[in-house]
């Protein structure tokens, strides 16, 4: 069967960096084509070229047998190609329906037909089985995961025949990923071609029919999913085989570094946690259970209003991020664009941001620090917004390591990071723990959480539902998180 889309010999350079070198890619109707590779390999760039957001320097795109060239994303949309971006592209103050139909509002007799817009949005939401979202809700009030659903609804509303998804599950919790699986299945059944970027190996194998691997802008291999094993895939991406994914667990537990007794605020109640030097404690729970709220409370973003907190056996009050930092508590945030980084400043400035702001200027070896999170030294002078999504996440990590914390609260620290770099982050976290840092880690990827944690605290509805030992099963965690069985 002839492909819907055939990209041929695509080249793209940015300021002397070869982002893409001579890439060929075919997309077929009813097929999910996974695009994988390390951070900065060029996946997002290739997608943007397909969707008209960038123009290739050379190379052609053939759509349904016709040569096309898109001047803007809108032209690509009209031709039936929609993209779900890696970074959110929604207007927080506008409603769900207004966002979905942004720029394409249905008009009746001179005015926007709001009833039709809302009904159509409601239909699409229904199709996805998302009953928790009403079309009139301002997007600002939705959690990140539901905002992601809105992005997908937006692509669907364009009647696209080709949908490109850039890490659509990066912000989703486990059970929401299932929804997305169903959704992608339905798109396939409708004969839509899906180009799918993800760093989660499991998804790539569950969903795709064909896998293409990019490395440093070049195509390494492209094969049917059935002809590849996970090990082969990782080797193609990283260029070498990876040994065990997770480092060894801690053998000893040091003194308690931070303890919370009966902590609570608007979203939390009865939070009692001890974090000891040398251990990594996992915090599990469904989206909205309050995992991030705990992280935000410990780090002074949304402080606790009840209960006691002690750091190194001394009672402290953490009323602001600054206070938290002064007490040695660092916060790797889940939303790197909104909270974590100053996008227009350089990698170096961002890395030193917290340290300089709270402890005054001082010299440390930035290159070594960035090296330890797996960022190449040549990047220090670059503006952060030009980095690929995963590399931005590494800068967030480096920024917090620069303050040499006693306690590290890591909320989705590996979101959007490639397998090789994930491995690096795991090692880094474990090394930090061994050097006496207490670590609280949140992750929506259960295998990662279970693989890393020395023990797992499970949250439900704003309180701690229970604790599980290292190496517990995913089922045990989910049972506690949902309150079913057990």
């Amino acid at each position: 069967m002839a492909p819907i889309v055939r990209m041929n010999g695509i080249n793209k350079r940015f300021l002397g960096v070869d982002a893409l070198k001579d890439i060929d890619l075919e997309l077929h109707a009813g097929e999910v084509h996974a695009l994988v590779g390390e951070n900065g390999a060029g996946k997002s760039t290739l997608m943007k070229i397909l969707a008209g957001a960038h123009r290739p320097d050379t190379g052609t795109i053939v759509l349904n047998g016709q040569l096309v060239s898109f001047a803007s994303p809108v032209h690509a949309q009209r031709a039936g190609i929609a993209i779900v971006h890696q970074e959110m592209t929604l207007l927080p103050d506008r409603s769900v329906a207004e966002n979905v139909y942004l720029g394409r509002e249905p008009v009746r007799r001179g005015h926007v037909d709001r009833a039709r817009m809302q009904a159509a949005t409601a239909d699409l939401l229904d199709r996805l089985g998302e009953r928790g979202i009403t079309p009139r809700t301002p997007v600002r009030r939705l959690p990140v995961a539901q905002q992601q659903v809105v992005e997908i609804v937006k692509a669907l509303s364009m009647d696209a025949r080709v949908i490109a998804m850039d890490e659509p599950t990066a912000a989703l919790a486990e059970h929401e990923v299932e929804l997305l699986y169903d959704l992608v299945g339905r798109l396939r059944a409708d004969g839509i071609a899906v180009l799918y970027v993800s760093h989660r190996m499991r998804e790539v194998f569950d969903l795709s029919q064909r896998i293409t691997v990019l490395k440093d802008g070049a195509l390494v291999t492209s094969a049917a999913t059935t002809e590849m094993t996970p090990d082969q895939l990782v080797r193609a991406m990283v260029g070498r085989p990876l040994d065990a994914m997770f480092p060894d667990r801690a053998k000893t537990r040091g003194p308690v570094r931070v303890s919370v007794r009966g902590g609570g605020n608007e979203r939390l109640r009865d939070i009692t946690i001890d974090l000891a030097a040398g251990e990594i404690v996992g915090l599990a729970g469904l989206q909205g259970a309050g995992r991030s709220a705990v992280a935000r409370a410990l780090t002074g973003v949304d402080p606790l209003t009840r209960g006691e907190v002690e750091v190194d056996d001394r009672p402290v009050r953490i009323r602001s991020p600054r206070a938290a930092i002064r007490h040695g508590i660092a916060h790797v945030t889940e939303d790197r664009k909104g909270e974590g980084l100053a996008l227009r400043q350089t990698v170096r400035d961002n890395t030193m941001l917290v340290r300089n702001a709270v402890f005054g200027r001082s010299r440390i070896d930035v290159d070594r620090l960035l090296g330890s999170v797996g960022l190449a030294a040549g990047r220090t002078g670059q503006e952060v917004r030009f980095l690929s999504g995963g590399n931005q996440q590494k800068v967030v990590l480096a920024k917090w390591l620069a303050v040499a914390p006693k306690v590290l609260v890591a909320d989705e620290p590996t979101r959007g990071i490639d397998v090789g770099a994930k491995r690096g982050v795991y090692e880094l976290l474990r090394e930090l723990a061994c050097s006496g840092v207490a670590i609280l880690m949140i992750s929506s990827e259960l295998p990662e959480l279970i693989g890393m944690s020395d023990r797992i605290l499970v949250m439900r509805d704003g309180h701690l539902a229970g604790e599980l030992p290292a190496g517990s099963s995913e089922e045990a965690v989910m049972a506690l998180a949902t309150g079913s069985g057990a």
Binding site: R94, E98, L102, H111, G132, T134, T137, R141, G288
Partner: protein
């Protein structure tokens, strides 16, 4: 799975209905102000809301209202206009000198004035979008150019309007000046435009996030230019009202009225975000009425101009602080 689905809808279903929006707060504040003002004025033996008082408040609101309506659109796109004050002065002179007391020249003068204002708006918009000059600087520059021209060319009032044209400024329908009615009709039209039409939706989109708007196929530059043209046209209309009341054009009539900063103050007081993307005309009109009522109350009480400015400044700061708080409360989910 079921547990989550049962838990979630409650939290995310809430719509903006049933919440205290900034617009509602503005009108509540206006009512409180009218009541408190009436009591204060009554204690000194006067009446705030008698025929004359109402007329005074509405007359004050009309010119500022027009400029603030235009300013609202500009600010909603994330831009800003500092040129209306001097533009009003220049437009008043263009109108009065073109009419030169001749009733037959009224229509050409009105068209010329509005056309000239539109041209200035076009320049503002193009400097901002095509030359990528920050809106603050671009419109300040245009304001300075106009001021230089005015100071160099005029020493005082000039031109005169025919008697017939003065009806615009002085006629009333009951206690309501005709010009106020015109201003309110324009306000309703702009409200409809902003909340009901595609163009209005795009104004909010550009102010909310210009890049997102661009990726959605909205012509961001064109949207910004258009709001600047409309804003300047509003300033032109304001000039026409002032001319019809004064009988002649005056170079500093706009600057003396402080319509540049005052209109921005009214917009912000009305709950529109200075960075764009949120707010609207209804709130702005409330803001304008509050400022006009404050003025009238102070006049009735014989308060010194100094204290007047202090109170107005304080009101503005308190209002914006309150909006910021309600915004924070909303963000903390």
């Amino acid at each position: 799975m079921t547990a989550t689905q049962a838990a979630q809808p409650v939290r995310h279903n809430a719509t903006s209905r049933g919440r205290v929006t900034p617009t509602l707060m503005v009108y509540l504040a206006l009512v409180v102000l009218l009541v408190v003002g009436s009591v204060l004025v009554a204690m000194r033996g006067g009446v705030l809301l008698d025929h004359g008082g109402i007329l005074n408040i509405l007359t004050r609101s009309t010119v500022l209202g027009l400029v603030a309506i235009g300013q609202t659109m500009v600010i909603l796109t994330g831009s800003l206009d500092l040129s209306p004050a001097y533009l009003i002065g220049l437009c008043s002179l263009i109108a009065a000198e073109t009419m030169a007391g001749d009733p037959g020249m009224v229509v050409p003068a009105v068209l010329l004035t509005v056309g000239f204002a539109a041209l200035v708006g076009l320049v503002n918009g193009l400097v901002i979008t095509a030359l990528k000059v920050n809106a603050f600087i671009a419109t300040l520059g245009v304001a300075l150019i106009i001021r230089g021209y005015l100071e160099n060319t005029y020493t005082g009032p000039a031109g005169s309007v025919p008697r017939g044209f003065q009806h615009l400024g002085y006629d009333r329908i009951g206690p309501v000046p005709l010009s106020t009615v015109v201003m309110l009709v324009i306000a309703v039209a702009v409200w409809w435009y902003l909340t009901r039409t595609k163009g209005g939706y795009h104004v909010y989109a550009v102010g909310g996030d210009a890049e997102v708007a661009r990726l959605s196929g909205i012509r961001t530059g064109r949207t910004i230019v258009m709001t600047h043209v409309l804003c300047s046209v509003m300033a032109g209309l304001a000039a026409l009202f002032l001319v019809s009341r004064l009988g002649s054009g005056a170079p500093l009539v706009g600057a003396d009225g402080g319509y540049d900063l005052e209109s921005i103050a009214a917009v912000v007081l009305g709950g529109t975000l200075l960075s764009g993307g949120r707010g609207g005309v209804a709130g702005t009109i409330g803001g304008v009425l509050i400022l006009a009522t404050l003025d009238t109350v102070f006049d009735d009480l014989g308060v010194t101009p100094f204290l007047k400015d202090v109170v107005r400044g304080a009101v503005l700061i308190v209002a914006v602080a309150l909006y910021a708080r309600s915004q924070l409360a909303r963000r903390a989910r």
